[in-house]
């Protein structure tokens, strides 16, 4: 499942995209994120499955533009910690 967590508002699209088919629930992204945006648990959109996958925490979904901003400087942007940590290459950002 391609899970788009985030929102679109007047200023743009802010989505963290997680490919749950690639995700193995290793929690590397949870440890890597300095702001607690990521978490791992049962897939709430696939209630009949028992597999644990990564998701963006409910509390952060509506403000990732701001929470993720420190990891996204305007110039010399280093690789994002969550994306760099994911060996499965399951995470991407829309902005």
């Amino acid at each position: 499942m391609i899970a788009n967590y985030g929102y679109k508002d007047g200023s743009g699209d802010y989505f963290i995209v997680i490919d749950t088919d690639k995700c193995n629930g290793c929690k590397d992204c949870v440890t890597a994120c300095p702001y607690g945006v990521m978490d791992v648990g049962p897939d709430e959109n696939d209630p009949l499955s028992d597999e644990e996958v990564a998701f963006v925490t409910e509390a952060e979904r509506k403000k990732i533009k701001y929470t993720c901003a420190p990891c996204k400087p305007m110039t010399n942007r280093p690789p994002l910690p969550c994306i760099a940590a994911c060996k499965q290459e399951a995470i991407s950002h829309s902005w």
């Binding site: 899970a3 929102y7 709430e44 209630p47």
Partner: protein
């Protein structure tokens, strides 16, 4: 103001399947407590037996109770007869008699799959306060989704606001908006609050109501299109939720997407979430998950 017509108020409804007897069957239910409307759906052995569709009050547990009681009205069913209940929607954790809460994304995919058949690949739920674009497989399992619940643009609440300021019944908005000789420019703001200001300005300029509605429905369709572009539209394409009943938006969206949107007369499009929840309830009983 005393006696002021509540034009935004859409018709509440309930229905019982006349050809079904629930006795001796497995009864599961789904309750969708949304931001604007609440629905309860009862299934007997997986067949649609009864449903109710009403406005949500300020108290979620109370709204859930009212919805299920209305659905059970005159059927002889009692809460104890229901084996498993799944709650969904904004108030899903506040359904007191439910055994489990499931996201409305999963439920709309499942419900849409039941309503429109296994060929549905894209489901757009236009609810009271958010908009969800969902891709699903032939079993109604979510394969891709996007939810926009930060902004009310392109939602039922926005439409209610417009019905109210224009003094038009919400049920007539779609037809009236299509009754224009030439499609006007859409209102430029996607924000409901600004769009309302813009509409008031247009009315003062002398625009007739139907033209203003056309401009708003068209802006809504466009706004939804930009959301859909993120995940793409795969045929067959169906809409659930209250806005599916608004021809003005649906027709314009069809034009923007270039795909015919599936229609149903068999089901109330607003019950999709609760229907999906009831189907999950049945699946969970069968899976032995209590």
């Amino acid at each position: 103001m005393v006696g002021k017509a509540e034009l935004w108020r859409w018709t509440e409804s309930r229905w019982t399947n006349p050809n079904l007897d629930w006795k001796g069957k497995l009864i599961t239910s789904g309750v969708d407590v949304g931001s604007v409307s609440s629905q309860a759906v009862l299934l007997a052995d997986g067949e649609l037996y009864a449903y109710s569709n009403m406005r949500t009050g300020s108290d979620s547990p109370d709204s859930a109770m009212k919805a299920i009681n209305w659905a059970m009205e005159d059927t002889g069913l009692k809460l104890d007869d229901i084996t498993y209940t799944v709650g969904t929607g904004y108030g899903r954790v506040n359904v007191p008699f439910s055994q489990r809460a499931i996201t409305e994304i999963a439920c709309h995919a499942r419900g849409g799959n039941f309503m429109y058949g296994p060929s549905v690949r894209t489901i757009l739920d236009m609810g009271g306060q958010d908009c969800k674009a969902i891709h699903c497989d032939e079993r109604g399992k979510v394969t891709n989704f996007l939810m926009n619940d930060k902004c009310a643009a392109g939602t039922g609440r926005g439409m209610e606001v417009f019905a109210d300021i224009l003094g038009v019944s919400i049920n007539d908005v779609g037809d009236l908006s299509l009754d224009v000789d030439k499609e006007p420019q859409p209102v430029s703001s996607t924000c409901v609050v600004y769009a309302k200001t813009e509409a008031t300005g247009l009315l003062r300029e002398g625009w007739p109501k139907n033209k203003v509605l056309a401009a708003y429905c068209s802006a809504m369709a466009h706004r939804i299109m930009t959301l859909l572009e993120r995940i793409g539209v795969e045929e067959d394409f169906a809409i659930t939720g209250g806005i599916a009943k608004n021809k003005g938006v649906v027709t314009r969206l069809e034009k923007e997407v270039g795909i015919t949107i599936m229609k149903t007369t068999d089901y109330d499009t607003q019950i999709a979430g609760a229907l999906g929840a009831a189907l999950f309830a049945k699946a969970l009983v069968e899976k032995g998950k209590k």
